[in-house]
Symmetry: C2
């Protein structure tokens, strides 16, 4: 596929100057139009080493409004990054709406390098590319415009450039032994990149190959490609927005309702509860210390109707752990920075480091529960969320994070009793709002949405644990036991 | 001062249970009242090793609403933290309004440890304590409630606890050789802490010593102290708010106006400009690479009237640098997360790592310019900002960051010409708004505020460079030259 980028295209100085002048104005305008339309712009500049990625970035930043651009050329990950899934360094640097991020090394860099040096096999490579496709699709659907440029130069041209740099005392340091190692593997590198580019050139985010032998041609072409992508996206905007029209969805319960099949009469006596609690909390305390020493991280997500007892179950877990090891995250109204990013971003931000625990009191599953039922997300948005969430949890699990999810089930009658009780208890009153009463009216829809959620997202590495929560004692012990069992298995 | 905490206070089980019950309810309520009043709560739990800081944190988190609490027990700083001023790890973890942060190691830990092991002298120690006083005053004035608890046990009690832990196979790992090293230095540690506590017990944030020999006494006392501090702060609220009444301030120019003394007729010919620009950008490019290799960081702040040419001057600098090395930060309307933190937080967030550059197009000086003149900050707020900003820049400079600040000066007539020019030029129109025209009417007040700012914040380590900017070419070369000169001196 790279033959088309070795045809010798070039651009004269005068011609370039003229093109550059209008490109610059158009780019500035496009950048502002894009920002005011609520999009973010993600530009990946990949390609052959020595093809001038940085040179182009410098030019682009001098043309564009640099105030809204961040350039990322991630060398070695920091220790904070190493302690989370490999993609986290990209998640955290994604631009907010209205802003641009320019990646000179991107999520493609690592998979390609690992494959070139045979640290990964062909199937692994394809698997990682599949994930990137999913990731970019999600970004695109979450209002990012992803532009992928690939700068190509031939093997001979690469050698010529390296040698030229080496002759200049001021530039010599730019050429490293790694560069020459890559040069020796040029053919293999080319083959692997070709495969990657073919596979990941999707309708939403195709790769654009740029012939990079002539500097002016390269710069003008790359800038023009970005400009065209922005214009196209702005034109497509209305139809994209149409697909996102948000309306409440009130699913009907299906016959084989897995939640209704739970035996809500299960309960524990005070005595059994006290005994089990002490035993399980003791074991959990030790396991949490093991977790810390083994440098694994743990994520616990809690979902369930209002007043199902999520807070109480969480407290029974945190009581057993050292305050320095855990963090409880609860879903409040998103901040405007959170609203300016993909919906998973607010959870990415608080992912635990190695050896730490984050407990989510309500989680990313809000996307397919409250956002679906209340119409805060469009059908196209919550429908794709199942796959996005599975992909997210898979990455957590692959990076050694232990993920467990709990659905706490109570009956509608029990919820009513608890609501009334909360209204009577001084220090619980703040917990109950008019919204809670309104949500009760949509009980069936919420239950049906939960069933579908469990069906679509209960995986081997991140299973849902269904908890009969009509009796608080039973629920708390069951949750504790599930955590203890899972940790024992994982840490042994 | 610790004698009062060795008197043998204790609390019986039944009595504690009763107190705990009401404390828990009161704390929950206080936490919510504080949150709804827009305060954040910062609790430092310091004290003798083995006195039960973590145990208390665990209890407090089980009593409080853990959703709004983050616990910080920072062990080794991460590499991202090491590449910024030592205080940065605290700056980044400060709680937003409505939230609580519990620090089990705090900004006192490092100065005390360094002093105990004689890695710092007495003067250095006092200097660092003075800075902490300033820092806490700023937090308090920026709507944080700072509660400082000191858990005390005697030397004999400490030894007893360490030995008891060592006997328990499950707990043995908790006692480290470092603990015993501290124990041997108990008297010295005590003396140094006494000094620190005396010196940093301010009216806004006094230390509270808690006798920690009896666990129940310690827990009840510490929780009660937090509760009382919250209540007091809520009561004082109205008077504090009164002091913060915001009103515009329109200072009159003083006779010895340093900005008016600038010779705005200075200019460069096209030819000289081209020659100088090329020469200076070449040198800057090399110096920026040196900066990266020497792992120093650089901060450039630009202030000046609207249309004074900040953006143009910034571009002439960035053009010379690798896009991977710098970031341009511009002050837009603060996000709601930024509004929920001290005003410096938005700048702390984007501080450069070692070897990197951040260019601020408008900066923290907005506090004493636009916020003062327009009345977005109360007189008490912008008046204290000079000292706060000086302290901030001193910390940057101490950690090896090079700080340079530019004031770009133009005449009112020149501004008018540029405004009109912007309105005529297609790709510059977005740069000019109704607000720019309104600000022109307060020209004199802005100039006077700028003079006062320069007078109060031009320091040896972070000097203001006054730039005659009537001629853009002159201004750009002067800015470039100042950066090149400073870098040459610092990197040699």
């Amino acid at each position: 596929m790279f033959e088309t980028a070795e045809v010798g295209s070039s651009l004269g100085k005068a011609r370039f100057k003229k093109i550059a002048e209008s490109l610059r104005i158009d780019l500035l305008k496009a950048q502002h139009d894009l920002a005011s339309s609520g999009f973010s712009l993600v530009v990946l500049v990949g390609g052959v080493e020595g093809a001038g990625k940085t040179e182009f970035a410098n030019l682009l930043l001098s043309w564009a409004d640099a105030h809204f651009v961040e350039t990322h050329a991630l060398a070695e990950p920091s220790d904070e990054e190493r302690e989370r899934p490999p993609a986290w360094r990209f998640w955290r640097t994604l631009p907010a709406r209205g802003r641009t991020a320019l990646y000179l090394t991107s999520w493609y860099t690592r998979p390609i390098v690992e494959r070139v040096f045979k640290r990964s096999g062909s199937a692994e490579f394809d698997q990682s590319l599949d994930r990137l496709i999913d990731f970019e699709r999600m970004l695109t659907q979450e209002n990012a415009l992803v532009v992928k440029l690939w700068f190509h130069i031939s093997k001979a041209e690469q050698a010529r450039r390296f040698r030229k740099l080496e002759k200049d005392p001021d530039q010599r340091w730019r050429v490293t032994p790694v560069d020459w190692r890559f040069h020796k593997k040029y053919r293999r590198f080319e083959k692997i990149c070709e495969h990657a580019l073919m596979k990941t050139s999707t309708a939403e985010a195709p790769w654009q190959i740029v012939e990079a032998t002539d500097r002016r041609w390269r710069n003008a072409t790359a800038a023009r490609l970005i400009l065209e992508a922005v214009k196209k996206r702005l034109e497509d905007k209305s139809s994209a927005e149409l697909a996102k029209q948000r309306k409440p969805d009130r699913p009907r319960p299906k016959p084989g309702n897995i939640i209704r099949k739970l035996d809500l009469s299960l309960k524990l006596s005070d005595k059994t509860f006290d005994r089990e609690l002490e035993k399980l909390q003791g074991r959990l305390g030790l396991l949490a210390q093991r977790l810390r020493r083994d440098r694994r991280s743990l994520i616990l997500a809690f979902e369930g109707s209002d007043a199902a007892g999520k807070g109480g179950a969480i407290r029974r877990i945190t009581e057993a752990m050292d305050a320095r090891l855990y963090r409880v995250d609860s879903v409040a109204a998103p901040t405007d920075e959170e609203k300016a990013h993909p919906y998973l971003w607010r959870f990415w931000r608080v992912l635990p480091r190695l050896g730490r625990v984050t407990l989510y009191d309500r989680s990313w599953y809000g996307r397919v529960l409250v956002e679906r039922v209340e119409g805060f997300a469009a059908p196209s948005e919550w429908r794709r969320a199942y796959a996005e969430i599975n992909a997210f949890e898979e990455q957590l699990s692959d990076s050694g994070t232990i993920v467990l999810k709990f659905w706490l089930a109570i009956s509608a009658d029990e919820q009513l009793r608890r609501f009334k009780d909360r209204q009577k208890t001084a220090y619980k009153q703040y917990k109950i709002t008019a919204e809670d009463w309104r949500n009760r009216e949509k009980w069936d829809a919420y239950q049906a949405a939960a069933c579908e959620m469990i069906e679509r997202t209960s995986t081997d590495h991140a299973p849902w644990v269904l908890v009969e929560a009509e009796d608080k004692k039973w629920a708390r012990v069951k949750v504790l036991k599930a955590v203890v069992d899972r940790l024992s298995r994982e840490l042994d």
